[in-house]
């Protein structure tokens, strides 16, 4: 009784916020909930061990959480913030991607050189696919026919056929590939290479690199420019790239592949997410333990929000 009353009081706070962000704190085993109007943390939720990748279900009612050291993917009901399910994920899940069918979750198992495919309705493992060492980035094409995964030590983008879950091709990219992102049309993949310091733009049909983007920031040693998270705008005009210990987010013209600007954010920036209308971009800053709020029109960080230790993943949710 007491718990449900507390729950109600807590939830009433959320009801006031029309848009919130969830941030996974890797070294605190928590999620921070941010009110996107007031830019304040309004709740901290305990989850499994070493939470990293997080993603929303297509109906935006559930949140999937990679609890890496719990060796599970947790499913959180966003109306109650209760963990309602634990999916078998294989060992050490780091990042994942949900198939457009809203059922199949593609999970990168960092310690086992595997990609695990899980049916979120039946809790069954559908397939495990051998990939390179330290699989990390994961994405499924919006067309649903192909999934891609990066392996950090093998330095490849692996292409997986989603019909029969077989590896169909590999594209060699620069050192330590991290994040992969499909364009909305599904014809192009953007892949960041952390140690290589580049972003490769890959044509999905030929599975070959068509452009390679390099970064240069005055006063920052090239070694410290380490691209990780990538976010593409819905209109296909811009890409935002988080540059790790360079403490900047690059603004890339997605048509010309020219870098147009660099935005100063917190220390060791990992991942990025837009709000619903893409007027704001959030960045998780691992070392400084905060989230920067970037005004996408002004190319400027307008607010810093302190969260837990080593913030990693971020999603936003509009009601």
């Amino acid at each position: 009784m007491k718990k449900s009353l507390l729950c109600f009081l807590l939830m009433s706070g959320y009801l006031q916020a029309s848009e919130v962000a969830y941030v996974s704190n890797e070294k605190d085993n928590t999620l921070s909930v941010i009110d996107m109007e007031r830019f304040e943390v309004i709740d901290t939720i305990e989850v499994g061990k070493r939470p990293r990748g997080i993603t929303l279900s297509k109906d935006r009612r559930q949140l999937y959480i990679c609890a890496s050291d719990s060796d599970a993917v947790q499913v959180m009901d966003l109306s109650t913030h209760e963990i309602v399910n634990m999916l078998p994920s294989g060992e050490d899940p780091e990042q994942f991607a949900l198939h457009p069918n809203d059922r199949h979750l593609y999970i990168a198992n960092e310690d086992d050189a595997l990609v695990t495919v899980v049916d979120t309705e039946t809790n069954r493992v559908l397939a495990q696919i051998d990939v390179g060492i330290e699989p990390e980035g994961m994405a499924v094409s919006p067309l649903g026919d192909v999934a891609v995964n990066t392996s950090e030590t093998t330095n490849m983008v692996h292409w997986i056929d989603t019909k029969d879950w077989v590896l169909i091709d590999n594209t060699l990219v620069d050192q330590r590939p991290r994040h992969v992102e499909f364009t909305k049309e599904g014809d192009t993949v953007w892949a960041s290479s952390e140690i290589g310091g580049t972003v490769s733009v890959i044509d999905v049909n030929s599975r070959s690199i068509t452009h390679k983007i390099e970064f240069k920031i005055r006063g920052v040693h090239p070694d410290k420019i380490q691209p990780v998270g990538i976010k593409l705008t819905a209109d296909g005009k811009y890409a935002y790239v988080a540059l790790g210990p360079a403490n900047h987010v690059a603004v890339v013209n997605a048509k010309t592949f020219e870098v147009e600007d660099y935005i100063l954010v917190g220390r060791r920036v990992w991942h990025l997410e837009f709000n619903a209308d893409e007027s704001l971009l959030l960045s998780t800053n691992g070392v400084s333990g905060d989230v920067s709020v970037i005004d996408t029109a002004k190319h400027k960080a307008i607010k810093t929000i302190k969260v837990g230790r080593y913030p990693w993943g971020v999603v936003t949710l509009k009601r």
Binding site: D130, G132, M156, G196, D223
Partner: protein, 387 residues
């Protein structure tokens, strides 16, 4: 003309289908180690080779997608001339890639006798002379030099403003060499050496450290004590027993090293857990150097699609080469002496204290070149190019 083209195409496509075998030899010269006082936690007997094994497993996973197979063969010897003989025979049979864990004299004879086509990686020797004069075109170093190790410590001392140090060294040749490296670094970074003492007592310090060491370290006041005791004879007993209550580092205490279990940033946690699964123990600097050597070769083979030793060598020395090696930035080889440039960890047994180079120590080429002998200080000019 057309026939030639067809033939060439056929040749290339069949080459792409066949497997590229990359054959590696890991050779150790087992040197008799003198007994030490602090013999409580001995170094693992399989250090080095286990790092090479892990890198072979890693590279074979990548190789599976590219039609490459890595094979590792181990050679152990207790006699230098027999080892050289054995490796010459392997070279005669077509073996080109060697990882060597041996004293400097053995490395020199191997480099001289195995010929230009061989590629030798020094994976355990920190001898500064090997990087300073008489460098060999077929000899690469993935293990950091003593100068790199002591520069890393002295940079940190400078950054922490501990400007006056006491040096305690052991009597063995390697301790003297470490002490020489410390003295060079002390001068390089403008730190004052308060005194230099040699430990030659034969007391069993496991029982008498509290009595002996305070008196021994009663000199002019210092901020920090540097211990030069590579074999771990007395150094473990120096921390907490100095006359002035000051921190201790060097070969013991705050240890300056190429690798340790406590390094877990920059994705290293995954490497550490893979290694522990394979070896059942922690990964150390020897394992790391052997790992980095195999990974350097594998990177060259992957990018050039060739296991030919000359093309591996050319790629490793090219501007395109960069090794992702869990130290937070790409690693590469110095052109003039073929030493792998790399950050050095300063650790205590339970945590990483710092990584050098320290912020603010700048270099026109790479901050990593503030550690160890820089090009103008070295007599070696192996691969002349503008960097």
């Amino acid at each position: 003309m057309r026939t030639i083209w067809v033939l060439l195409l056929l040749f290339f496509s069949s080459a792409a289908n066949s497997k590229t075998e990359v054959s590696l030899v890991y050779a150790s010269l087992w040197v008799d180690r003198a007994p030490v006082l602090s013999n409580i936690l001995p170094a693992p007997e399989d250090q080095g080779i286990r790092g090479a094994e892990l890198a072979v497993v890693d590279s074979n996973t990548t190789g599976r997608f590219l039609g490459q197979e890595y094979l590792l063969q181990q050679v152990n010897e207790i006699d230098e001339s027999l080892l050289v003989q054995q490796l010459k025979e392997l070279f005669g049979q077509g073996q080109r890639l060697f990882l060597i864990d041996a004293p400097a004299s053995t490395l020199r004879s191997l480099a001289a006798e195995l010929g230009e086509q061989a590629l030798i990686f020094n994976v355990s020797n920190s001898d500064d002379e090997l990087r300073l004069s008489g460098c060999y075109a077929n000899l690469f170093h993935t293990y950091p030099s003593r100068a790199m190790i002591t520069d890393a410590l002295l940079q940190w001392l400078k950054a922490r403003r501990m400007d006056e140090v006491l040096l305690i060294k052991g009597a063995r040749a390697e301790d003297q060499a470490y002490a020489e490296a410390v003295k060079r670094s002390v001068q390089r970074f403008g730190v004052k050496l308060v005194d230099e003492l040699e430990w030659d007592f034969d007391t069993d310090l496991r029982r008498a450290a509290q009595r002996e060491l305070p008196l021994f370290t009663q000199t002019d006041e210092y901020d920090f004590v540097i211990v030069a005791d590579e074999s771990g004879d007395f150094g473990e007993y120096v921390p907490f027993n100095t006359w002035y209550p000051r921190p201790v580092g060097g070969t013991q205490g705050l240890v300056s090293t190429g690798w340790h279990r406590v390094v877990e940033q920059w994705g290293a946690a995954q490497l550490q857990s893979r290694f522990e699964e394979l070896a059942g123990r922690w990964m150390n600097a020897h394992d790391y150097a052997a790992w980095a050597a195999v990974r350097s070769i594998a990177e060259a083979v992957t990018r050039t699609k060739s296991a030919d030793s000359q093309s591996v060598r050319d790629f490793i020395l090219s501007q395109q080469f960069e090794l992702a090696a869990f130290k937070g930035r790409p690693l590469s080889f110095r052109s003039w002496n073929q030493q792998l440039r790399q950050p050095i960890a300063l650790i205590h047994p339970r945590a990483l204290v710092s990584m050098s180079p320290q912020e603010g120590f700048l270099h026109q080429r790479s901050e990593l070149d503030t550690l160890g002998y820089d090009e103008p200080e070295s007599e070696c000019r192996l691969n002349q190019r503008v960097e």
